[in-house]
């Protein structure tokens, strides 16, 4: 198996054909962010600030969740913490949040944007109420692949 460590983090990286300043704006300006993140939001992003979002995704329309901005280093780094269950736990407990960090890096084609979400070992996933039905299909084959991978069979 790779490493169990991989189970505690999600990392994605994408090259955008746009300058860093443009990407930074899309990430941190409320009205732009709301569009690609598919939410409506109240308030602006400020370091240390709290923003409330409302989902526009079909599966969770109207679901409200808070997002706690951590760091904002213009054109370099943007991070927040949130409850991965989206719904606010009854007792708001910061130790049960995951952290999302975006980093921007200049590359010849434009900007490499990397997003890393960590802290899944901390979270209380009990708060996740709604099922994500549409993703339940097609998992069986994938499950077999994963199991083979975890067994180290190749």
């Amino acid at each position: 198996m790779g490493s169990a460590r991989e189970l505690l983090k999600i990392e994605r990286s994408v090259v955008l054909r746009a300058p860093r300043a443009r990407v930074w704006r899309a990430l941190t300006r409320a009205e732009e962010f709301a569009r690609w993140f598919n939410v409506t939001m109240e308030g602006d992003f400020t370091p240390g600030g709290r923003v409330t979002m409302e989902s526009k995704e079909t599966a969770y329309v109207g679901l409200r969740f808070p997002l706690f901005v951590q760091r904002m280093e213009p054109e370099h780094l943007f991070s927040w913490r949130w409850y991965p269950g989206s719904a606010l736990p009854a007792d708001e407990d910061p130790t049960k949040q995951t952290e999302v960090v975006f980093t921007l890096e200049e590359v010849p084609e434009g900007t490499r944007l990397t997003v890393v979400e960590t802290g899944f070992e901390r979270v209380d996933l009990q708060v996740r109420a709604k099922a994500f039905e549409e993703n339940t299909g097609g998992w069986e084959g994938q499950l077999k692949n994963i199991e083979a991978y975890l067994r180290g069979a190749s």
Binding site: R12, R35, W36, S55, L113, E121
Partner: protein, 112 residues
């Protein structure tokens, strides 16, 4: 974005159990080397056999490992199903990130 998924509730103890360096190491070793005795598992760590045993029991509680007798010695082996399910949960979240990033890409590239 927003994120509830089906099996995350069951996977919560799995994630929690893995939130420790030594336990991560133990699971990774059992996954790659197959069933091992406590003696082998203790080798290469800086902790005592008792500590390793304690951590194995935490992992066992989360359903991640189980004891199996092999000859005269007790061995520990990894149970892949809960790990696979935990991985699946993260895959769902990761796919939501993929979708969001695709929308972001479209947004910033359309006006260049």
């Amino acid at each position: 974005m927003a994120r509830p998924e089906p099996s995350l509730k069951r996977s919560a103890p799995v994630f929690a159990a893995l939130g420790d360096e030594l336990r991560l190491t133990l699971v990774t070793r059992l996954g790659s080397e197959g069933p091992l005795s406590i003696t082998s598992l203790t080798e290469g760590t800086r902790v005592t056999r008792q500590a390793v045993t304690k951590h194995l029991h935490v992992l066992e509680g989360a359903g991640l490992v189980r004891a199996a007798r092999q000859g005269r010695e007790q061995h520990w082996e990894v149970r892949t199903a809960p790990l696979a399910e935990a991985r699946r949960c993260l895959d769902v979240i990761a796919r939501q990130w993929d979708d969001a990033l695709a929308r972001l890409k479209a947004a910033v590239e359309q006006d260049e």
